[in-house]
Subunit: 439 residues, 4 copies
């Protein structure tokens, strides 16, 4: 991997209720309007295996003790009511084929662990490929004291017991057979139920990683929810490709404002194959499945520019939360700015230069091409004149004095650099991102 | 209630495996040797409803996803393999009758909540007495995110949902019908899974209390495990009769030593009907069910005297952990000292007078009878000369100068009081308990 | 002591700036209007030893490195600019004499520890009474790492070093000579600087206690600030007479509302000589010294009734925060209700009966006289009909069915008791306190 | 800076008592034996400004309220008893000159803040260079509630008050005039007194940084004590050159073992000018000033190799704790291994490859030269066969299959690489560091 994954995720719009037709419609749209700009992942988020999702939305987001689609080995399958092509054991294979045929990649969400139902029903664990004898049972590997705080579907898998790796192998083998390219595993990055051990599922991260290595297919492993634990950075990097550095991100300025210190914290950890994850982009039309009808993003245009600029200069994965077919032109243009999206590539290294309560400045450089960028963010509630002494970013500049043009990448505006200082007016909550050119 | 309950509990010797014959043998023994001294409760501890208990003791104390005996309303019944008389829906009624016929009282252990099995099987909750229509289902009241850290049997019951109180009512009604006199409810006093809210089951305590009030039978409510939360003292007192002030207590000096500050902490909370609980007395023969064969208590005789003296002067419930039929004469004598056991009565008020790392002194007085006592504990590792200025206990003494005899209640030894100071030699870890007499 | 102290404290009105004339004026007022109702303590609060107090109130409440009045042994004396009669070594003796002549008692505030100035100047510690040789130096007993978070005057005194007890003895001996009857020691009850050890001054509490025992004068020892630590209740009781169960209490409903759970927590700890302390009564005119001019209490009359009722039924010390000479008739009447103030006496035992977010009920009984009381508090934001089943307070009632009159002690209103239930309307934030009478 | 500083520090041998002759002797030794290998800093550690240091070592490491050498502006000077050449206002200039004449660099330790003495004596703050009017006073900038937990000399400097930056400027200007090249500022990296805000001195770090920028001399800024806070990494990097990632490190295996996860945590933060600091090397003869006479390092030779290998491959500063003039040949050889020391240079990037309780593996690469290294650490208590699949370090290897020689840098031993796997026996607590060569 040479840049963070870019794609679409069903959650922000559909909650637990996305269906096959909706996924296909979003894939169609992406193939047509976004694929040329690098967007390629179509990710089906949580509860695709559950029946009746959304039917008790006033009481539960996740129906406890509800019906889930499962094979005889406790492996979850798509609910055929929502995904008709998955019937008769086909699973997500037909839908993945559809997505692949568009030139896109296919991803799914899973919860860590094994279905509670499988353990209570004492289901066998599927034998290793090439063997037939059942050696293990769900009730041997399920840990009844390892649960998710907010979702009732699974039990965690025990550490170091026979059958545990075999269970994860059996699941990932199935998903690889379906053609899954991306797995977002939830309740694993920060197991927040366990206040005194939020990394209680470290062994399950390792088992997933091993299962993916064994399965013979390139699968991106994305871990949720955040905030990821900075003191476990090395472990995430060894075992996964993405990990959420924030709790669920939504269209609220305060959450966006806080992302600046999260990006400060994780900036040294963006490397090829490893992408700290700022979470989905809550733009466009959102929330159809959440009970009170859909809404338009509460972010202003300025805030959306700030978000896109920060995610790109930092190097976060980009996953669109909007229903794609409802995108307006302005929002679409935000996703089609090649000059900005280019910064996601690993050769572009972004670093925070300054930050206080009122503003932040980031720089970015590509040592191979010699390209240089600087982003100025106004975090305050009024328009501000922001300045950056380019000597502060001199480590990225071969001859800082020689910068003579600065071109803003969202607006095309040219800014003057005098005495090596770039000084521009930035509106409240807005960002400006400049490409710097030497004479 | 005018004193803390006294009895026997199956756990310390039998772990999860006690059976009917064993319970009866202990009841027989108690009726014959201990009842005259005030001992009256026979308590069947954890897992009486579970099959195959102990069969996987190397791996689990509590078998996850194992078979439990349950009626069609999700109410647990004794496993008939262990309690033959309970078969055919008789429950604990025959055993309770047996115990009652001996002049004793019958108690059982329960886990808070509703069986996980009942929720996963969507069992109905029994209708209120006098009604027939099923209104609620286990899956509506079971909270899938409320579990016990160490026992896999139950889900907690939700707060404030229809059917929750009805479930507890149905359970307690059944146990009242059986003739249960004492319920030790576990995973409720300190829900230690929930580090940031160890009192997460407050509403279940209240539901149990209400169910007991409604059931028409006097049932002592005992809450476990400890340590109870001192800041919830009033709530315990309103809703329960006993609550554990310590985590599991075993035959280790360090645990006994720590009980001194626990008793200091809770001393103001011993009142009629309310008894902070120091946990079972791990004396005699212990641990037959714990996997490595039974052992003799690791407490020295001095330590056992210290324990009995502290428990009595503080006013803790007394629950014998030993297998009664194996008691030796010395241990039995410890349980038959009427002069000491009398201090349990609520008219005898005990208070700590001094405490440091090396010793503790408690006083006790009965204002109605004028009786006065003082206990001296040597917590150090060598014999010490301990002194107490009786002026320090003068609030209990009408004319402290007039004390002229002090009689030790374990040994009968007389001690001299000079200048109002009682000074005696106490061996390491031992205690002396004096009745003080005025001229 | 058979009841909690009642008096006046200079802080709420004067901050750090009270002077001799003002203290006398308040003493005159108390002697004339309040002494007959039991009010007797006149307490000079913080910084009486400091010069120029209040002169930098925009920057500091307590001027760092400012001038303090001190003798050659590092013992603080009143600033003669504020207390002219203290000049020439007289100290507070003349003022105490004045107060005593009025039939009142005299109290002062101190900070725990030894003046920083004394340590930096290497002052000697005064020899024991009857000796002349200087044995210790301030710099030996001052602990440079023990400070107060909010006041810069002192260093804590080390535990277990020669000279430490002698220092405290020398200070208390001086104050006893002055005729001090009451010492409010600050930064000692909860040393909140030391987050992981808020009881870091336990040894200083003990030293103060011993110094008072030695000094030959009855001096009430009051510890601040709160919240006191419930797990140290026994230690407070052994060593002090009062301890603050709350951080600074002011005229804000939220603080008053929270006092209900604080009183719940500490209710078992009100005994003769031991009074958990709800802090001063911020009524009448307040705050003249705090920088923005004085204000009238922000408590409504209902809230003031609630406060007085709770403090009295709980048994807290009562210290008036108002400038007495400015009291209006209504406020004065609040302080002259003998029927209510009587409940402070230790023979009247108050206990919480019910409490939730919207209301609280307390009962009170005097077993010697047979008197019974019940208080109903409306904590909600609208008028409520509150009920109490008097069976709930039956432990206090010899024959609960026979209650036939209930007289409200603030208004004289009679309430009907039907079927043993008292049911009354109480306005938002108000309280009603009933004396119950049997036929 | 293109590599972490290397030098000698007086603390581990001399505690608070090093004197001028001893510093010179160590400088002489370094110039002769170590300078050719890159060692160049001579650092005088804590309490050079204090009189009588060590005279009360049984009671205090740091004498409270003791005499310190200070000018009229509250700036600390060397105690002339220990540093005779500093007399008459010369300060450390003569000693710095001596060190510089040897081709070495000179460093000193300071405590953050301003002397308590200066505040209590109300000393003026020196006017800015070129001005004469005294504008500020020590008592205005000293914060009486900001102290060090373990050293009594200073008060912290307030944030955002006039005079605060001027104070730090005046101090750093003086030290720059003396010719100081390196400042180790203590009680600033982790202000562990303030449990809930261990980064309470962030503003003092910034003031020091600004003062150094202003002073016109290149001075390395080193922050102590650790553990540094990983969530403040960016702030350290902006303002300082080194920061301690551990509490005081001594010659105990457990501390060395823990350094592996500390290095894991900070590995991404070693960049030019920024060096997370593993603390001094406690080798050779240590502890002469600590009260019980000097001792030989308790580290085995294996452990010393492990330490040197880890510090170098990670890129930590290297500060020798031993008295240099007492170094034995073996220890000296540890410090003269150019092949190993070369890895400190910033072009050599080290990363952890594996770590568990029993072993750790690190790789290192220099992309400019193509050099490759791998280190294998045996953390267990017995000899182990350690293996590393060189594919795991392939990101550093242009053609991993082609590695054919592996030369151990401490012993010269050649190891065979078969099927791209390096497999060697490593003794308990020992390390092997291989240079890898392609055909």
């Amino acid at each position: 991997m040479n840049k963070a994954p870019m794609g679409w995720n069903s959650y922000d719009y559909y909650d637990t209720n996305v269906n096959e037709a909706q996924v296909k419609a979003n894939a169609d749209y992406m193939a047509k309007h976004l694929l040329p700009y690098g967007w390629e992942y179509i990710v089906v988020d949580i509860e695709w295996y559950a029946w009746h999702t959304g039917s008790q939305r006033d009481k539960y987001q996740y129906i406890p003790f509800g019906k889930v689609e499962m094979d005889d080995y406790g492996r979850l399958f798509p609910c055929p009511e929502k995904f008709p092509s998955s019937a008769n054991g086909a699973g997500f294979r037909p839908l993945a084929d559809y997505v692949h045929a568009k030139g896109l990649k296919f991803g799914i969400h899973i919860m860590r662990g094994i279905p509670r139902e499988a353990a209570h029903r004492h289901l066998p664990i599927m034998p290793e490929a090439g063997t037939e004898e059942v050696l293990y049972n769900a009730c041997d590997v399920a840990d009844p004291s390892s649960i998710c705080k907010w979702n009732p579907d699974m039990y965690g898998v025990r550490a170091g017991v026979p059958g545990a790796q075999e269970y994860y192998d059996s699941v990932i083998r199935l998903y690889a057979e379906w053609g899954v390219d991306f797995i977002k595993c939830d309740d694993i990055c920060n197991t927040n139920m366990y206040v005194d051990n939020p990394y209680s599922a470290a062994h399950e991260i390792e088992m997933l990683h091993r299962a993916i290595e064994k399965c013979g297919r390139d699968i991106v492993l994305s871990l949720s929810p955040g905030p990821a634990l900075i003191e476990k950075a090395w472990h995430y990097e060894k075992n996964a490709n993405m990990w959420r550095i924030t709790d669920d991100f939504w269209d609220e300025w305060e959450l966006l404002r806080q992302m600046f210190w999260r990006c400060e914290l994780w900036q040294n950890h963006v490397t090829p194959g490893n992408y700290p994850d700022c979470d989905m982009l809550p733009i466009g039309t959102l929330g159809q499945g959440f009970g009170n009808g859909p809404w338009q993003t509460r972010f202003t245009r300025a805030e959306q520019r700030t978000m896109m600029t920060l995610w790109c200069i930092f190097g976060s994965p980009l996953m669109i939360g909007a229903e794609l077919t409802l995108l307006d032109d302005w929002t679409l243009s935000l996703l089609q700015n090649k000059e900005v999206l280019k910064l996601l590539e690993n050769d572009y290294i972004g670093r925070q230069v300054e930050r206080d309560d009122a503003h932040a400045i980031w720089s970015c450089a590509n040592d191979k091409t010699g390209e240089r960028f600087v982003a100025l963010f106004n975090l305050s509630d009024q328009t501000e004149e922001l300045q950056v002494d380019l000597a502060q970013v001199e480590q990225f500049l071969s001859d800082p004095k020689a910068v003579d043009t600065a071109t803003e990448l969202w607006s095309g505006e040219k800014a003057t650099v005098e005495s090596n200082v770039l000084s521009v007016s930035v509106e409240s909550h807005d960002a400006k991102l400049f490409a710097l050119k030497n004479k």
